[in-house]
């Protein structure tokens, strides 16, 4: 089967063409060693005879989608991948997709592709838009100038694709590289080409030109430096080559392109006038962000039910007599009401919540159906527990996130595909540069407030590896939707038990704390382990366009597949282990929910309890204190588990007598009361410890789903350090909050430590620099 590579600039319609070519056969993987998507698929020729269809696979063409690039330089992973694939894997041909509305810059890459010995065909995309604007491009003139086939297509409408593939297959298998620089650099090229031909490399012309461009990868070859020095003779060929390429393009475009007179602003300009406006840009962006989160997570759509609780006027289903409260949950009168509850219960839900409810209803019925079936069949209690709570409960809890993760993904893909995301980076870059990041890092971070999983995946838009690593590490500090219940429950517990403070204020403060922790950690990492210059910010601002529905859906489908696969592998294994540990005693006997305090997990919790003493929720909380340690451990599966564990354990140890409540506030305040009575701990210390507990949970290792994603997205070998980083960050944050909260004067000690660490890092960074400089100067002096 022949293999064709698809190459082109970002935003030139490459993805659309790829989807049109391969359809359902496409699959996404990773290029080896890097986290750049590798898309592959098969193009099938239609109107084959029946006979041909059988062994039609011989005529099918494998399509490999190379990352969107502007050039074949050696500086970004995308460029290196593309270059290696073309030169080493040697596809049977390159389909170079060229955006006709932006011919000049797009053909720059083409001039480089032509220098390889691989056959090239050019797909001239978006011709319809060019014609709409009144311009004209003559494909034949272009074909003559470039010496390779040029086919007009519209990836969006699917026209010209068959013709493109027919001509692609008909191309002769051999081609000799050609360059547009023959005239300008004849002598230098001769020298460099001779060297590479001597070395026996394929595509010698390409390598020769790259060498003359002072290319890092080429200079690694033995003897290459000498050849470059000889050929260049001190001249700055890099600038000459780039300039000549563009000169050739503009020279030949003169014949191929007829520009219509432009009047006024394009549509894109008009949109940009508003969206990147000097004053309105930031407020508009904040509003967009608010709506995205509102539509994904809100349980009170468009504030129809008033802005505060006291303004609420919509009756809940219980108020309407359609359902009744039972056992801390709600029982619906009939299936119809259950369906209604997906959309409305006391307030209208947002689309994200509706989808979640819908999926959960479905999953609940499956799991309760299976449990009932097992019970009727007389299965042992431990077996139904393991399957119902352990396996299904665990997997469904993770799958339950899927609708909101996908809704968030959909919105952010919309922003990305429409071109708005690039503007956001443009607007915010100034702020982020201070922390050694670029404006692009903003989106993944802010997505972290919704869910760390899509946020970590979204870091793929960052080109610098160190910047990506730093960003992925701090994403969990942006408190996600699942951590909110921990905040409200513990804050609510504090207020109820001690009758002090304001739970909203504590919750809000914790969000701020997370952001501050993220800033501090990024600064710290960028100055120590992830040192590096701020990545450059030289970026195209693509024209706005309507996102394509098909592309969006294919994109979402990929994400779903990834996530579901993870839910059924890593997450599955971990939930089963945690369940077993919490329901088995050391005698390997099964323990029902009510006796969890005798389980292996509880023993581990008691064993770990002293570790948390500096954080205020360890040994000082006496015999019930291990509950906090266990809650923190179960939180590793999913942060929802933290409060669920509290509820279960509070009931176990008799700290709360009533039926379980949904928000866990009553149980927590019961637990707090029991511990206070047991140990006589002072109120101030206890509150400080509880707040430290929230802070610890917010900044520690995130849930399994987020860990699995982070592992996939981080460069090789960085994941274990990341886990360690999360543990260290949360431990220090927790300890700081506890000690300062309980004994305010410890603040001075912390400040002194922070000052010492900062001074040390700064001195080390400057000192190192100076030593090298001094050393070099001495050497020079010695020579003289």
């Amino acid at each position: 089967m022949k293999t064709f590579a698809l190459a082109g600039n970002p935003n030139c319609g490459k993805t659309t063409l790829f989807n049109a070519l391969t359809g359902a056969t496409a699959h996404v993987g990773n290029w080896p060693g890097v986290t750049v998507d590798k898309r592959e698929g098969v193009y099938k020729f239609e109107n084959k005879t029946k006979k041909g269809a059988k062994n039609g696979s011989e005529n099918d063409i494998n399509i490999v989608d190379l990352p969107g690039i502007y050039s074949l330089s050696p500086y970004t992973p995308e460029e290196v991948i593309s270059r290696n694939f073309i030169l080493e894997d040697r596809p049977d041909g390159i389909i170079n997709i060229v955006d006709a509305t932006n011919l000049e810059r797009n053909l720059y890459l083409t001039t480089q592709l032509l220098e390889t010995d691989v056959p090239v065909i050019i797909a001239l995309n978006m011709m319809d838009e060019v014609e709409k604007s009144g311009d004209k491009i003559n494909a034949q003139t272009l074909e003559r100038a470039l010496g390779v086939p040029v086919v007009e297509i519209s990836a969006l409408k699917g026209t010209g694709i068959k013709q493109l593939m027919e001509r692609a297959v008909a191309m002769p298998a051999q081609r000799k590289g050609a360059t547009v620089l023959k005239g300008a650099l004849e002598k230098q090229l001769e020298t460099a080409c001779a060297y590479y031909e001597n070395e026996g490399v394929s595509s010698p012309l390409f390598h020769a030109l790259k060498l003359l461009e002072n290319d890092e990868i080429e200079l690694e070859r033995k003897g290459a430096k000498a050849v470059l020095d000889e050929a260049a003779a001190g001249e700055d060929l890099e600038a000459v080559i780039a300039d000549e390429r563009y000169k050739f393009i503009s020279g030949n475009l003169a014949g191929a392109k007829v520009r219509a007179k432009r009047e006024g602003l394009t549509k894109s300009d008009k949109i940009d006038r508003v969206l990147t406006h000097r004053i309105w840009a930031i407020p508009i962006f904040l509003a967009v962000l608010f709506f995205i989160f509102h539509l994904t997570f809100s349980e009170n759509l468009f504030f129809l039910n008033g802005f505060t609780e006291s303004q609420g006027w919509m009756p809940s289903l219980v108020d309407l007599g359609l359902a009744s409260e039972a056992d801390g949950g709600v029982e619906y009168n009939n299936f119809g009401v259950e369906i209604l509850a997906i959309f409305y219960d006391g307030a209208v839900f947002s689309p994200g919540v509706i989808l979640t409810n819908f999926l959960n209803l479905f999953l609940d019925h499956i799991s309760s159906g299976i449990v009932t079936l097992m019970e009727n069949a007389g299965a042992a209690e431990w077996a139904t527990g393991l399957i119902g709570d352990g396996i299904l409960g665990g997997i469904f809890a993770v799958l339950g996130f899927l609708p909101q993760i996908l809704t968030l993904f959909l919105f952010f893909s919309l922003l990305e595909d429409s071109g708005y995301m690039a503007r956001i980076a443009f607007v915010l870059d100034r702020i982020f540069r201070r922390f050694g990041l670029s404006g692009r890092a903003f989106m993944p971070m802010i997505m972290g407030f919704g869910c760390s999983v899509p946020a970590a995946v979204n870091t793929r838009t960052l080109s610098d590896e160190k910047e990506r690593t730093a960003t992925i590490r701090v994403i969990p500090f942006f408190s996600c939707g699942a951590k909110l219940p921990i905040l409200t429950a513990v804050a609510g517990g504090i207020v109820t038990a001690f009758g002090v403070g304001n739970s909203d204020l504590i919750t809000y403060g914790m969000y701020i704390l997370g952001v501050v922790a993220a800033i501090v950690c990024v600064l710290l990492m960028r100055n120590t382990s992830l040192k590096g210059e701020t990545p450059p910010f030289i970026m195209e601002l693509p024209a706005y366009h309507m996102p394509k529905f098909k592309n969006l859906m294919l994109h979402l489908w990929d994400k779903t597949k990834h996530f579901v696969k993870k839910a059924f592998t890593i997450i599955f294994a971990s939930t089963v282990i945690i369940w077993l540990f919490s329901h088995l005693s050391f005698k390997w006997g099964y323990l029902p929910d009510g006796e969890m305090n005798n389980s292996i997990l509880a023993s581990i919790g008691m064993f770990l309890q002293p570790i948390f003493t500096p954080l205020g929720f360890g040994a000082q909380l006496g015999q019930f204190g291990w509950v906090f340690a266990v809650a923190a451990i179960t939180g590793l599966v999913a942060k929802e588990n933290v409060i669920a564990t509290f509820t279960t354990l509070a009931l176990c140890i008799g700290a709360y007598a009533g039926a379980g409540t949904e928000d866990g506030i009553e149980e927590l305040s019961g637990l707090i009361a029991a511990i206070t009575a047991d140990t006589g701990i002072s109120q101030g210390q206890f509150i400080a410890g509880l707040i430290a507990f929230i802070a610890f949970n917010m900044t520690t290792i995130p849930c399994f789903a987020a860990c699995a994603t982070a592992k996939a997205e981080l460069p090789k070998g960085k994941f274990k350090w990341t886990l360690l980083f999360w543990l260290a960050a949360s431990y220090v944050t927790g300890a700081m909050i506890y000690t300062v909260g309980a004994w305010w004067w410890t603040l001075f000690i912390w400040l002194a430590v922070i000052a010492a660490v900062t001074t040390f890092i700064v001195l080390r960074n400057i000192g190192k620099f100076d030593i090298v400089k001094i050393f070099k100067r001495r050497k020079k002096e010695n020579k003289e």
């Binding site: 502007y70 050039s71 330089s73 500086y75 932006n102 011919l103 000049e104 810059r105 720059y108 461009e213 890099e238 600038a239 780039a242 300039d243 563009y246 000169k247 990147t276 406006h277 000097r278 004053i279 840009a281 930031i282 690039a422 443009f426 607007v427 870059d429 100034r430 702020i431 540069r433 450059p536 910010f537 030289i538 970026m539 195209e540 601002l541 693509p542 024209a543």
Partner: protein, 81 residues
């Protein structure tokens, strides 16, 4: 008159004379079409004053002022808009 791109005000345009800087940064500028001889127009500044947006070779490019300081431009025509 020659002027660094980082000192441009909105609406000014000109022809690139020289691109300084080193390695990765310079290469990136070249690859994006910022080469001697190319004409550009300063379009706008980001709300916080940096980065800037320019039109060049028929498309919009954004870069930071520190990066724009590598680009020397010969002013032409002055302010048209």
């Amino acid at each position: 008159m020659n002027k660094l791109l980082s000192d441009f005000t909105v609406g000014e345009s000109g022809k690139i004379v020289k691109v300084t800087g080193e390695g990765k940064l310079r290469r990136r500028l070249f690859d994006m079409g910022v080469t001697p001889g190319a004409e550009l127009t300063m379009r706008k500044k980001a709300p916080l004053g940096d980065p800037i947006e320019i039109t060049l070779r028929g498309y919009e490019l954004t870069l930071r002022k520190t990066e724009a300081a590598c680009v020397e431009v010969e002013l032409s025509g002055g302010e048209k808009q």
